[in-house]
């Protein structure tokens, strides 16, 4: 007995043990945390492969496993018709709208951030402040206003009106400057001004400084706000639902909502299947760009 106690004491006092013990504990915590974060995901996976299709009878490993839900999702089940159901079109629409919005939004934000970071002018601070305040407005409640606006624009230029992706993208672009401009400007502030000052002395103009010197250094933050804005647009449901009217124009989130209407329960499995496939592009993007995101998010806020 005492022997063991002694050994234990000895081991415990050894730094190495302490460290190992700590690692073990942390690994155990990691397992718990991972269980917490992936459990709902496993649940979607299981629901999507459960042919029985009922929340009450569902278990983690479906008793009734099969791919019926996927067949239904892709209109391959002759006994089950949703009418015009264009899953792949929705997915493509989502990627298209989010992609275009991200590229344009990030460009607009970055160019504007240059002015806020490098130029000094009257109105700079008030504008920055107001940008934040405007974002605070509960957008959900301005839906009616946005809807009316887009509908009027559409009566003049149909290509920008209701039920068009261009109209939707324009509305998204309206919100692109908000919080993002703070992040980008913050990041830009961390790039020493000596660099551009010396370039200016060498005869470069602002645009050259911006494109040749600053932009290449901004990659992490651009990736970060790019992906944040992509996810935000991709996951948006309310605005897209209100502005898009035609099943072939729907984005994925709007399309999936068709499965949650009416007899939701009956389509629960199909919804899960659609949701799962829909989440894959984002997951992929995330895991590929993980490190860049971390770098971007924090340096922008840290401000050197």
């Amino acid at each position: 007995m005492s022997n063991i106690a002694q050994t234990y004491k000895r081991l415990r006092s050894s730094q190495k043990f302490q460290k190992r013990f700590g690692v073990a504990i942390r690994l155990i915590i990691a397992v718990i945390l991972i269980a917490f974060s992936i459990f709902p995901v496993l649940w979607i996976v299981s629901a999507s492969f459960d042919n029985a299709n009922s929340l009450a009878t569902q278990s983690l490993i479906p008793a009734n496993a099969g791919i019926k839900n996927y067949q239904r999702l892709f209109n391959l089940d002759p006994n089950f018709s949703f009418g015009e159901l264009n899953y792949w079109t929705w997915l493509w629409n989502s990627i298209k709208v989010s992609g275009i919005n991200t590229v344009l939004g990030v460009s607009i934000t970055t160019i504007a951030a240059y002015a806020f970071s490098r130029l000094r002018f009257k109105g700079r601070v008030p504008i920055l402040k107001s940008l934040l305040l405007i974002q605070v407005f509960p957008n959900l409640l301005a839906l009616v206003a946005v809807f009316t606006l887009v509908s009027s624009i559409g009566n003049i230029v149909p290509a920008l009106g209701l039920n068009t992706h261009t109209g939707l993208i324009m509305v998204y672009l309206g919100g692109s400057m908000g919080m993002n401009i703070w992040l980008v400007k913050g990041y830009m502030d961390t790039i020493p001004r000596d660099i551009d000052e010396s370039a200016h002395v060498d005869g470069a103009n602002d645009w050259q400084v911006f494109t040749k010197l600053i932009l290449p250094l901004m990659r992490p933050i651009l990736v970060t706000i790019g992906i944040l804005s992509f996810i935000g647009t991709y996951g948006d449901f309310l605005m897209a639902r209100v502005l898009l009217n035609d099943s072939s124009k729907y984005t994925l989130m709007v399309g999936l909502q068709l499965f949650t209407a009416g007899q939701f329960d009956k389509k629960w499995g199909v919804f899960a299947a659609g949701a799962l496939i829909g989440a894959l592009p984002i997951m992929l993007l995330y895991f590929l760009l993980q490190d860049q995101i971390v770098g971007g998010l924090t340096r922008g806020a840290v401000k050197g």
Binding site: A56, G83, V157, N205, L258, Q263
Partner: protein, 527 residues
């Protein structure tokens, strides 16, 4: 740096131009929509079938996922015969979207699949047009047509009716229960034997429990002498309703009923044999059949007030008030939808008894016949705007009672009060004498039944008094209005909606009004 902005501007202008170009390219496609209506004039009337190449226009229908595929089958015929393209758009929230899109002129021509109780608000909003079914009207179930009539005008075409019925598991229960006491007895026995988890599935709080409420004497709104809903007679806190909720709460406390009344989950309970009874609608037939559980459909058990009865609903089709194709839409409904083929398809897909007689008469599905039997005393869902205020408060009250947060009586009384508040009349109970004198005595204008300055107060003599008011010389007209609105008003001789009272002041003087609520007569005292 100039260059920088050149670039920016190029981008900017380009994007604007793109918009303009996109519009330009769109323009030509729009022109033909006008032209061909004139163009095919030379064509012989007999068979335009082959000649039509370019659709002369579009008829847009919004429908849900059950009905859209059925309408899709009409596309070819319709285009061939009318030269107009039929476009069926799948929608998940038909009514909400319609409310948003119709006012800006982007709504469909036809809205397919709206419960009749939602039609009232849409009529009031001016969103839907009247329908003339002509001779076809005879082919519809009269009560279903009635559900579409507001102020004597037909506003929709019905296609199906629906109501709940009582299901029992034939393997567990031999004889269907005749009373709610039987439900408890049979259920508790089965529970004792551990054959079931609960004595009954409960799939909701208001609509789904209505047959239970009515068996105990509960009701939602009373009816007036003409058989119209009377939104001043609210039954949510009636003794019958309270008794029914007490029955429910008692059984929840005994563990006889589940504590969660989610629709899908409770269906799953019945379908897995964990409960012997359920009250379900025809829309659940598919899933119950699919589950393979042995079942039969029967009438509702009786309670202290007799056999319970469900709500009945009518599924309808509407025409957009702003549609430019109203006549065509109407013809589409009469000639293409009100046909045996489509009505049969709607019935088979939707699993609800058809509102179209030729199809209904052929109804041979025993289950659907049983639904008809269970719903023979059904009361149509009140299609009055006040219902909007009722559902949520009623639902909360039942939930609060179920969860033991309040007693059934407290909860329902509370809900009743809430609903009465919401029925929008903060002025409920006000007696007023609106008239052409009001602007002289501090009102915003004349003829304002809601103006507090002229509201009457009840005196000790049991009559209502207002004034004296100092008025200038002249001729005046007045009327009596109740509850701050014109809904209930009395004219001379106490006649409802009767002509105005008139009086004349030869010179400036004072006027007093006295109103008798029994005779509805107004006495005008001039000094």
């Amino acid at each position: 740096m100039k260059k920088s902005f050149t670039l920016l501007a190029v981008f900017l202008i380009a994007s604007l131009l793109l918009g303009a170009c996109a519009q330009a390219t769109e323009a030509p496609t729009e022109v033909p929509t006008e032209a061909p209506t004139e163009a095919p004039t030379e064509e012989p009337t007999e068979a335009p079938t082959e000649e039509v190449v370019e659709p002369a226009g579009k008829l847009v229908v919004w429908a849900d996922d059950t009905r859209a595929p059925i309408l899709d089958t009409l596309k070819e015929d319709f285009l061939a015969q009318t030269g107009v393209e039929l476009e069926v758009v799948l929608k998940s929230a038909l009514r909400d979207d319609f409310q948003l899109y119709a006012p800006v002129g982007e709504g469909p021509d036809i809205l397919f699949g709206i419960p009749h109780d939602q039609v009232a608000t849409m009529v009031a909003n001016g969103l839907i047009a009247s329908v003339d079914l002509g001779n076809k009207a005879q082919d519809f179930v009269q009560s279903a047509l009635d559900a579409c009539i507001y102020d004597g005008v037909l506003y929709c075409m019905p296609y199906a009716t629906e109501n709940l019925a009582f299901f029992y598991n034939t393997e567990l229960v031999e004889e269907p229960p005749a009373t709610w006491d039987d439900v408890v007895t049979i259920g508790e026995a089965l529970k004792e034997e551990e054959k079931v988890d609960y004595i009954m599935s409960v799939t909701g709080t208001t609509y789904d429990l209505y047959p239970l409420f009515t068996a105990f004497g509960g009701y939602i709104f009373g009816k007036d002498a003409n058989g119209n809903w009377n939104d001043q007679d609210l039954g949510v806190d009636s003794p019958g309703m309270i008794a029914a909720v007490e029955w429910l709460v008692g059984n929840v406390e005994k563990g006889n009923l589940p504590t969660d009344w989610d629709w899908a989950n409770n269906h799953a309970l019945f379908e897995t044999g964990k409960t012997p009874f359920i009250m379900a609608g025809p829309w659940a037939l598919d899933r119950i059949r699919e589950s393979g559980i042995p079942y039969a459909i029967t009438n509702f058990p009786a309670g202290p007030a007799g056999e319970g009865y469900p709500f009945s609903g009518v599924q309808t089709i509407l025409i957009n008030a702003q549609s430019e194709n109203k006549l065509l839409a109407e013809t589409f409904l009469i000639d293409y939808v009100a046909t045996e083929e489509i009505m049969t398809a709607l019935y088979e897909k939707g699993q609800r008894p058809s509102a179209y007689l030729p199809v209904l008469e052929k109804l041979d599905d025993p289950d659907l016949l049983a639904f008809g039997e269970a719903g023979r005393n059904a009361t149509p869902m009140p299609a009055i705007p006040a219902m909007g205020s009722v559902w949520t408060s009623w639902d909360s009250a039942v939930v609060l009672a179920r969860d033991g947060k309040m007693t059934p009586e407290e909860a329902l009384k509370d809900a009743g009060e809430k609903i009465r508040n919401l029925i929008a009349n903060p002025l409920y109970g006000m007696v007023n004498v609106p008239g052409s004198y009001q602007s002289q005595v501090g009102c915003d204008g004349d003829w304002l039944p809601e103006c507090a300055a002229t509201a009457m107060a009840k005196g000790e003599d049991g009559k209502w008094h207002s004034g004296p008011f100092e008025l200038k010389a002249g001729d005046y007209e007045v009327k009596v209005a109740l509850d701050g609105s014109w809904t209930v008003n009395y004219g001379s001789d106490g006649k409802q909606d009767g002509p105005n009272y008139t009086f004349t002041l030869e010179s400036d003087g004072t006027v007093e009004f006295i109103y008798d609520e029994d005779t509805h007569m107004l006495e005008i005292v001039i000094e």
